[in-house]
């Protein structure tokens, strides 16, 4: 199966990148941009075919490596 993972900064954690992009969009003349937050996105091809087991595995991968749970949250979607 394929797992799609969104990793985002916990709310309240400073996001310098998002801030810089916000500014740049303004300079490029895009109005009405209230906030930009940048995160990471991962696609993982798994041999596992059972959705439940796959989710378990991917959750463990996020906790152990893919997300820095000190400052990041993650969201898993299976396809």
């Amino acid at each position: 199966m394929k797992a799609k993972i969104k990793v985002t900064l916990k709310s309240g954690v400073l996001d310098p990148q998002g801030k810089a992009i916000e500014g740049a969009l303004g300079h490029l003349g895009f109005g009405g941009v209230e906030q930009v937050r940048q995160g990471k996105y991962f696609e993982i091809e798994l041999a596992e075919t059972d959705a439940a087991r796959a989710r378990e595995q991917v959750k463990a991968m996020c906790e152990k490596l893919i997300a820095n749970t000190v400052i990041e949250n993650y969201e898993i979607e299976l396809a």
Partner: protein, 220 residues
């Protein structure tokens, strides 16, 4: 030889570049702030190294879309000589002055070290004082200098002799395709390179291998 050095917020090697230009060519370049819309009349402009806008989003992406770059793009179309070094290379590439892209170093680490550069094309404004095939020492200092482009672009770059500098003797520090360290546009008026020649021009730097590059500007 009148030259300008463009300064964006977060650029931090502009003084290194200005010093090198002044020390070797004898004339002090003018610094141009990124909000300017009209580049002063110069023969040659450098986009120096650093971390423009913190390298946020993508290295050089935000700087490439600033007012001064539109003017540089316009003037380079009319033949203005442009040199982009390190972050400058990333900026002019993001700005579409050169093909391809610079991505994370293959080993995923920033690398500051001396490498060997092979001068593949000595017919440019920045290499005419060098012998073709000459091998010089030059430092690199970057985290995203891994040059990539699609197959046909690579074919054209090689075919049209537009690879100006190549990492030599297995010293490729970032995994760049074909050991590419620097390339030129079709007319040879725009050059981008990851290494920092401005940091190897006087005895203090241990070697002066890169002086001839700056001397080339006088002949150009």
């Amino acid at each position: 030889m009148k030259s300008a050095v463009v300064v964006f917020p977060g650029i931090n090697r502009e003084t290194d570049m200005m010093l090198a230009l002044e020390k070797v060519t004898g004339t002090k370049p003018v610094a141009v702030w990124h909000t300017e819309t009209d580049l002063p009349k110069v023969d040659f402009v450098v986009v120096p190294g650093g971390f423009s806008y913190g390298d946020y989003l993508r290295c050089g992406a935000i700087a490439a879309r600033s007012p001064i770059m539109s003017d540089i793009r316009a003037k380079s179309a009319k033949g203005l000589k442009v040199l982009g070094v390190c972050n400058g290379f990333q900026i002019i590439t993001e700005a579409g002055l050169l093909p391809g892209a610079l991505v994370r170093n293959a080993q995923l680490r920033f690398v500051c070290r001396e490498v060997k550069l092979k001068v593949e094309n000595n017919a440019t404004f920045f290499t005419n004082r060098m012998a073709r095939g000459a091998i010089v020492s030059c430092p690199v200092a970057h985290g995203e200098g891994n040059y990539i482009c699609n197959a046909e672009t690579l074919k054209r770059l090689e075919g049209e002799n537009r690879v100006v500098f190549r990492y030599a003797e297995g010293s490729n520090p970032n995994g760049a395709m074909n050991d590419i360290a620097g390339i030129a546009n079709q007319s040879g008026t725009v050059i981008g390179m990851m290494p920092h020649p401005e940091n190897m021009i006087e005895p203090l730097h241990g070697k002066t291998d890169c002086r001839p590059l700056f001397e080339s500007l006088l002949a150009a």
